[in-house]
Symmetry: none
Subunit: 225 residues, 2 copies
DNA sequence: TTTCCTTGTTCATATTCAGTTTAAAAACAG
DNA sequence: CTGTTTTTAAACTGAATATGAACAAGGAAA
């Protein structure tokens, strides 16, 4: 669901990272050097980058600087054996958001990842609770007062996406890019139809409402009790 | 200049923090307990909070949780002697952004502060605060003293544009080119009507006012308190 | 296989409301 | 006082959206 790029040359560490991220509910993407990382960044929607410093071809500092110079603001977490203050200094100056010294506590790494994602406004929950309504991403289900109901995939994803950033307005284009495929050719009216079905389904829900923002798109808002 | 609130009960540490922050070019505000911190937060525009955990009255965890539950997203850095993983865990769960164990390296603290401020600036570049009024570009909403209101697109854009350059005079032509399409053929009187609606809406706002500059156009000015 | 049902998409029509226009009243400058 | 600019209220209009229904593509069951 949230894609995290790991840039790390040591194969064992890479494997370990992969396992930790999976256990935290993230989707890892692996790169063995900085150049490969840049290529993968172009091809994927990456929500966070974990980068080692000592890397072949393009080291962690340079990779970070390159990205920041291009205006890329993806959160970066440096995880490295280089532990001197001079190393940290160079890391932060390059533009990293956080810096952990190996060997890292795996749990702490997950907390820090969660904090970074939260801050960069990317929600990272598998479940959303709004009043008496509970959305479960893993089951595609909505539970209201004990009643559990499974929604069609697109409908669920649409609702989940809207509710994970309440009040924020999403254009039809943005929603299509997120829920359908990037650059999907399908008619934007399709979004309307799905929204309409969601409204039907949750007409007297009482916890949230999907609001039309004319000329822009849709947003979900919590209902005042 | 960035204002940083330091919540710390030990007087010597507080003094030290103050000196370090000043040397880093920040404006420190000092609080000796959590309750005092909440009061100071109301009275000041605070860009970042450094919080100790063991505090009289309201501890660091509770302070953090309180703020986050109110929707406050000010970056928080916990600086504390509590070094177990369980402590860190509780800190991150409460909603802190970073966690440093005392005794901290002063330079590293400044780098981490800079990283947090950099990120929160990225997140907030779509917002304008004028007194108690907050404009959110992503939501097209204006919040005044807790009351959130959604504006029609053109109205919002017009207000946002005026307020992002306070005191600057914009001709109707300029505004049309920015908010309507470049070289739009629509009547310039349309701007007047929208301005008028904005004035209606924010008649007794107290934070800003839209002023007519006869023969030229309009400008937004902050009200003197 | 065929049938039936669920899901996703498209289309046609009805409806709505943001944005525009209009026009009269008010404010202003000379 | 006079001509010009701005304010204000109200009516209008069309593009944007809602909605119902039909269609297509797959999967499950018979």
């Amino acid at each position: 669901m949230f894609q995290i790029l790991v840039v790390e040359d040591d194969k064992n560490t890479r494997r370990l990272m992969e396992a930790v991220l999976l256990s935290g509910g993230y989707q890892p993407i692996l790169a063995e050097d900085g150049v490969r990382a840049l290529k993968l960044l172009e091809q994927n929607k990456v929500d966070l980058i974990i980068v080692d410093i000592m890397l072949p071809k393009l080291d962690g500092y340079e990779l970070t600087r390159t990205l920041r110079n291009c205006g890329d603001t993806t959160p970066i977490l440096m995880v490295t054996a280089k532990e001197t203050q001079a190393d940290k200094r160079e890391g932060f100056l390059a533009g990293t958001d956080d810096y952990m010294v190996k060997p890292v506590d795996e749990e702490e790494m997950l907390w820090r990842i969660a904090a970074l994602l939260r801050r960069s406004k990317i929600a990272n929950e598998h479940r959303i609770t709004i009043g008496k309504t509970l959305l479960d991403y893993d089951c595609l289900t909505v539970t209201q007062e004990g009643r559990q109901e499974e929604l069609p995939k697109k409908e669920f994803l649409l609702l989940f996406h809207l509710l994970s950033n309440p009040n924020r307005i999403f254009t039809r284009r943005q929603l299509m890019d997120e829920i359908w495929d990037m650059g999907s050719e399908t008619d934007e009216r399709t979004v309307d139809v799905h929204i309409n079905r969601l409204r039907d389904r949750f007409r007297d829900n009482g916890d949230f409402e999907i609001i039309t923002v004319r000329g822009l798109g849709y947003k979900a808002v919590r209902c005042s009790p």
